[in-house]
């Protein structure tokens, strides 16, 4: 009942809305040189609805992890705004801010590094429940932890409660990390490359688990990955969107299968044409689109205009001068490229 009322209350208001978000890191080349900025996230607008699945995909250094961290409140933005259920997280009172922090949880890439090796599974899962008052008695606590383990497929729960991380496989560890993230009833889970360090045969199992939890708990996901196959699987199965990032910008965003089957931005097209496929006949017939340059420009000194123009095989005159706006080309499918936008 309560959940339903909450839902009605927030109808129309996105769960997360970010406006012109910028995250710059200041670096110094040497002790005496001037500080310069790395624009990890450089003017991003994005909204995530309640229960929605959004996947951020891009090469290393494109800013996808930084964007995820900023949304989870782990990195302070340089500019722009992040609204949580319609309210800016930078002007919230303490109570609302804590509520936001509880509502947005993060799952990191490395399940070996994100669990304390000296704590058992129970000792890992119990403190957040106590901290947020989700279990009042010892009995209730044990019940909740057992229920969580069942939810993430670690059954029978008693077998796992007293195990230490080193006694678990990579896949099991990541399940514990996911259990910890969902334990406090978050509304959004930022999953940063959650399957990269997991055995190949178990990867889809982790993605399926996350989608199943979404069905039950109505959690929204921001899935961060470099792997287009995984991005498609997760977003398409979850009926969600894929956003492609390049040098701190979203260059294309749209419904998952639309972006994969009919990519618009030259960068997305180049990337998708380069991915090898698990079928020799199809993979060898693919003709990768050639780039003008293989190397990504330094984020310390990004090119003017469209940041991709130095590598783009379809560059036109305006590209090096002006930055293209993100424009809706098809229903819900946006692209930032002068090929699709009339000047």
């Amino acid at each position: 009942m309560l959940a339903l009322r909450e839902e009605v209350m927030h109808m129309g208001t996105p769960l997360i809305e970010i406006r012109n978000l910028r995250v710059y890191f200041s670096v110094r080349r040497s002790l005496f040189s001037k500080r310069i900025h790395v624009k990890a996230v450089d003017g991003i607008d994005l909204s995530i609805e309640h229960g929605e699945v959004v996947t951020l995909v891009g090469e290393s250094g494109c800013g996808k992890t930084t964007l995820g961290k900023a949304i989870a409140g782990l990195v302070k933005p340089t500019g722009g705004d992040i609204l949580f259920e319609g309210r800016s997280i930078f002007s919230m009172d303490r109570r609302s801010y804590l509520e936001y922090r509880r509502s947005v949880q993060i799952v990191h890439q490395d399940p070996y590094a994100s669990l304390n090796p000296t704590k058992t599974v129970f000792q890992t899962l119990a403190p957040p429940l106590r901290r947020w008052g989700l279990a009042r008695s010892r009995v209730e606590l044990e019940e909740r932890v057992a229920k969580l383990l069942e939810l993430v497929g670690l059954t029978p729960a008693e077998e796992f409660l007293n195990k230490y991380p080193h006694q678990l496989s990579g896949g099991q560890r990541q399940r514990v990390v996911i259990a910890r993230a969902i334990s406090v009833n978050p509304k959004l889970v930022v999953a940063d490359e959650p399957i990269t360090m997991i055995d190949v045969s178990l990867r889809l199992g982790i993605l399926d688990l996350m989608l199943e939890l979404r069905q039950r708990l109505r959690t929204a996901y921001l899935f961060v990955t470099h792997d287009f196959g995984a991005a498609r699987y997760f977003s398409a199965k979850g009926g969600g969107r894929i956003a492609v990032m390049y040098l701190g910008k979203i260059v294309e965003i749209g419904p998952a299968e639309d972006v994969i089957r009919d990519p618009l931005h030259p960068y997305t097209r180049v990337l998708l044409s380069a991915v090898p496929l698990p079928d020799p006949e199809v993979s060898r017939k693919k003709r990768p689109i050639q780039l003008k340059s293989l190397d990504i420009p330094s984020p310390l000194n990004p090119p003017p205009g469209c940041k991709f123009h130095t590598r783009c095989p379809f560059e036109v005159d305006v590209c090096s001068r002006e930055e293209p706006p993100l424009t809706e080309v098809r229903l819900g499918h946006y692209v930032a490229c002068w090929l699709y936008t009339k000047k």
């Binding site: 190949v200 889809l204 792997d227 196959g229 496929l277 020799p280």
Partner: protein
């Protein structure tokens, strides 16, 4: 397979290698037989812990000390390279068999310029003519799409991951080896750099007629590049065959499941699924077929006896009781 071994450049026979751990011996490679034919790219695919890297390290005799070869033989050009003394094997390593390792950053010495890496490798193998080495290095780097003068005078940290990986490929080719072993050479790279390296390897293969063993966990790369594929699971080879045949009609339930477990860009979403269970503990591997606890076709015999490797199709070998006539 003895007939095949006549045509093969490298022939591995019943190889067994263990690692020592606190809990006992890890049977990393357990009875592997494999032929690598002249001029082919053999892809070895398997999950982490399947023994694929150990296999490569054994061929080059660079196993880390607690590991031991318990038995079997590796024949290269008719010579059993496991049984010759180390000082004689040095004539093979790098000159005949070279390797491109997994992590490009760790494989290069951070205090040495790239040029020195080439010079040292050559010096170690008795080539002292600096000019000749530099000329060869420049040629190789240029072939790999790098700017020789800039790269040779750089330190490893000044190069991008893709450039370092290409430097390692150039280094491995310095002494014109006959067999190149590539251990996950593109795993840490971005999609576009990976594509560039894969196309480069196809080029190298065509131009230098090199024999290659390509080790990876990514079956899509195998589909893209290899002529034949060997699927490894828990220290054993479960299936070997022509890449087109195996991908079209995989015989072993593990190969079938592995192909389906990769999220692809074209297949239907419902056709992809994970493999249930997890890879076995290699200190105490399951009896019988090692895949039986995760297999959906398990029969009684699978739990008791190890399946023999049989030729299921022409040139396609599989170790599974489903194909053994009894």
């Amino acid at each position: 397979m003895s007939k095949d071994s006549l045509h093969s450049l490298l022939s591995i026979e019943d190889l067994r290698v263990v690692h020592q751990s606190g809990r006992g011996f890890v049977k990393a490679v357990d009875g592997v037989s494999l032929n690598v034919f002249r001029g082919e790219v053999l892809g070895i695919v398997g999950e982490s812990g399947s023994g694929k890297s150990t296999l490569a390290h054994t061929v080059l005799r660079i196993l880390p000390p607690p590991a031991q070869v318990l038995g079997g033989s590796i024949t290269f050009n008719g010579i059993d390279i496991l049984r010759i003394p180390e000082n004689e094997f040095r004539k093979f390593r790098w000159r005949k068999l070279a390797m491109v390792p997994q992590t490009a950053l760790n494989a290069l010495n951070p205090t040495m310029k790239i040029a020195e890496h080439f010079l040292e490798t050559a010096r170690f193998h008795g080539i002292k003519d600096r000019g000749q080495v530099m000329e060869k290095a420049s040629k190789l780097l240029e072939f790999l799409g790098l700017e020789p003068s800039r790269v040779l005078s750089s330190y490893p940290h000044e190069l991008s991951g893709g450039m370092r990986q290409r430097v390692l490929i150039a280094l491995s080719l310095l002494l014109d080896p006959e067999l190149l072993i590539l251990d996950e050479p593109t795993t840490a790279l971005d999609v576009l750099t990976q594509r560039f390296i894969l196309d480069l390897l196809k080029d190298i293969k065509a131009k230098l007629n090199l024999t290659m063993i390509f080790i990876t966990h990514d079956i899509a790369i195998i589909a893209d590049l290899a002529d034949r594929v060997a699927v490894m699971y828990a220290g054993k080879i479960v299936e070997v065959g022509n890449v087109y045949t195996v991908f079209k009609n995989a015989k072993h339930p593990y190969s079938q499941a592995l192909i389906k477990s990769v999220p692809s860009l074209v297949d239907k979403l419902d056709d992809m699924k994970p493999i249930p269970g997890s890879p076995p503990d290699l200190v105490n591997p399951p009896p019988g077929c090692r895949f039986h606890p995760r297999c959906s076709f398990t029969m009684d015999i699978c739990r008791k006896e190890e399946p023999p490797m049989i030729e299921a199709d022409k040139g396609c070998f599989v170790a599974c009781w489903l194909y053994v006539k009894r």
